[in-house]
Amino acid sequence: MTSLSKPKIAFFDFAGCEGCQLTVIDALQTDIDLLNVVEIVQFREAMSEKGDDYTIAFIEGSYTRFSDKERLIAIRDQAEIVIALGACAHLSGINAIRNLQSTAEVRRYVYGDHAEHFDVSLAKPISAVIHVDAFIPGCPIDRQEFVRAVKALLQGNLPDIPDYPVCVECKLKENSCLFWYGKTCQGPITRAGCGALCPSLGTGCVGCRGLIPSPNISSFKQLMSEHGTSEAGIEAKLKLFMTHEILKSEASGDGN
């Protein structure tokens, strides 16, 4: 069953819920042939065998401790292609929420007297530590998008991830806009590719796939405000998944 052309791939996990790895396992329900076109050499959550001769590394989870750096660098040194798998690896996702408070305070709140016992840094996307060739966004990743990404990699290409907003996919589905129903939605500034899944279920987009390139955040904030969301409410919504991106754009002065 092995052939020379089968790429060897490995999955790694850092701070996260392992829901993206679970989505990969679930992809086998519809695409069992995945096992015939790649050779998985490492996937701790699902298998005990362990090989270090991979060429493609999928990394789930955020960088959250100084000790993560060494492991990330070792993966980068080995793999020809490194792919951030899901929002935690891609954007630092929800892990970055704690960056809004001081690390000392967060540790004290949670560990009390033992606060100094554990190694903790600011939560960051893995691209803050190593070069990342591509990302598969989302919390969790979209199963079909993952399968498409693997197909692209097999053909020697990097995955093609949309750079237009969720609203485009939502309109194509002929959904009524949630803003008309007194709800709010981050679709206008969030990267598409999920098929507008949340708005299609009457639930506003939470921004898990990250910002589109050059988003007009000030106009979006105005829209939210016109629909009755308080300033604090807007901040909380934006910073559920996008804390890292918003802080970065504010720091560079192009956020508002």
């Binding site: 069953m1 829901g19 298998m47 560990y111 919390c139 009457g202």
Partner: protein
């Protein structure tokens, strides 16, 4: 226990595989004396309670579902229950039925993953599910088929299993159509064949022989095998309303773990499928009781390895319960209800559900719509002290065995608890302001 051998052994399992999250096993036997036997939790700490602080209450559920990709629905539901109790929200009967159905979907998904993909390779002599797929493709295809039904059930109710979408404080943002429910019913009924085959498969597999009696804790209700709400019940006697969860789950820090440990009346207790099975046996669906008998599991069992078998019994139970709930929903007809609104904007509440791995508690204090204090107590954190107590007893019993054999037995033991290490390192708030 006196150990006569003068052997010296050290076992170091770095990052146990086929479990959720990062844990190490360290055993140190010096001159026949067990010096150290730890399950080290080395998962990155995640600080969910600190992240929940300051969040608008509507965001607590979508945020806390991200504690765990495997039990996301239980986290989301428990979070909603905590918020609803804090803000005086009484969900409708339909909401409760849909939530129970959704929890059954998650229980099926998680148990099938554990039984087939994580545990079965040990019993069938395969390193993992991938060689197993080559060796016994029909076994793996059966698992994937059942798992798809479970995942699709959650998708029909809340959009997807990881992470649920359409669930809200007071109700749902989206409802299944009767067509979707009818299709689901057919598939659940058809799944019975695969479940029978699973019982047949496990009937012939031998679990390691090991008994250690401990305290067992689960949520219970008089009229049903409880997953949503209930009272905390102990095998040592006694029951407590969920608001008194701190009397049961006394959390404490240990230095080798980024997850806190808990203890109740004894140094440790067990939660999860085996605890539920023992405490709520009377409420099991008849088919599940027959499966238990076939599989040689009785409510007096004190073998932690049998937790996997209890999960299989629950898989049968949850399928039967899901069939009943879907039938009931179809008879009632689905109403497009608006979520029930809170009657106040400040308050305090505790939510409790049975997650696949045991009792889960979320406790929130909400002030003017914002969460000011949060505490989440996770099943695996409650089990850690008990796993270590089992590990010590197991190593003491098998101290003369070769290290490889002990290591395999220990890894299987840890895996039997189906630990969810990402969950348990949510870490908790020591200074809870009431």
């Amino acid at each position: 226990m006196a150990i006569e051998s003068k052997e010296t052994k050290r076992i170091d399992v770095h990052h146990i595989t086929r479990v959720e999250g990062h844990g190490n096993i360290v055993v140190d036997v010096q001159e026949g004396v067990l010096k150290q036997c730890d399950l080290q939790i080395v998962e990155a700490p995640r600080f969910f309670e600190a992240m929940l602080r300051g969040q608008p209450y509507e965001q607590a559920s979508p945020l806390s579902s991200r504690i765990c990709g495997i039990c996301a629905v239980t986290h989301a539901t428990t979070s909603l229950r905590a918020t609803e109790k804090a803000l005086g929200v009484e969900p409708s009967e339909q909401t409760t039925l849909l939530r129970k159905l959704n929890l059954h979907g998650e229980m099926l998904d998680s148990h099938i993953l554990h039984i087939y993909m994580l545990v079965a390779p040990d019993l069938l002599g395969a390193g993992s599910v991938i060689p197993l797929a080559r060796k016994s493709p029909e076994v793996v295809m059966r698992a994937l088929r059942m798992k798809k039904v479970a995942g699709d059930l959650c998708a029909v109710i809340c959009g997807r299993h990881t992470h649920p979408i359409a669930m809200a404080v007071g109700g749902f943002n989206h409802f299944p159509t009767s067509e979707e429910l009818s299709k689901l019913l057919e598939r659940l009924e058809a799944m019975r064949t695969d479940l029978d085959a699973t019982v047949d498969l496990f009937q012939n597999l031998q679990m390691p022989d090991f008994e250690r009696e401990t305290e067992y804790i689960a949520l219970s209700k008089e009229d049903e095998y409880s997953f949503l709400d209930g009272v905390i019940t102990s095998s040592d006697g006694g029951s407590w309303p969920v608001e008194q969860y701190r009397q049961v789950a006394n959390e404490h820090m240990v230095v080798h773990s980024t997850a806190k440990h808990t203890r109740h009346q004894r140094p440790s207790y067990m939660v999860g499928a085996l605890a539920r099975f023992k405490l709520n046996y009377e409420q099991l669906q008849p088919k599940a009781r027959i499966a238990a008998e076939t599989l040689g599991l009785d409510p007096l069992s004190t073998n932690p390895y049998m937790n996997t078998i209890a999960q299989l019994v629950e898989t049968v139970h949850c399928t039967e319960e899901a069939i009943l709930i879907v039938t009931q929903l179809l008879e009632r007809g689905i109403k497009q209800e608006e979520p029930v609104s809170p009657v106040r904007s400040s308050g305090e509440g505790v939510g409790a559900c049975e997650a696949p791995r045991g009792t889960l508690y979320h406790h929130y204090v909400i002030d003017d719509g914002l969460i000011t204090d949060a505490n989440c107590i996770i099943p695996t954190a409650q089990n850690l002290a008990n796993i270590e107590a089992d590990m010590r007893a197991l190593v003491s019993q098998r101290i003369h065995c070769p290290p490889d054999e002990i290591t395999f037995a220990l890894e299987m033991l840890v895996r039997a608890y189906d630990p969810c290490i990402s969950c348990s390192t949510h870490i908790l708030n020591v200074r809870f302001v009431l």
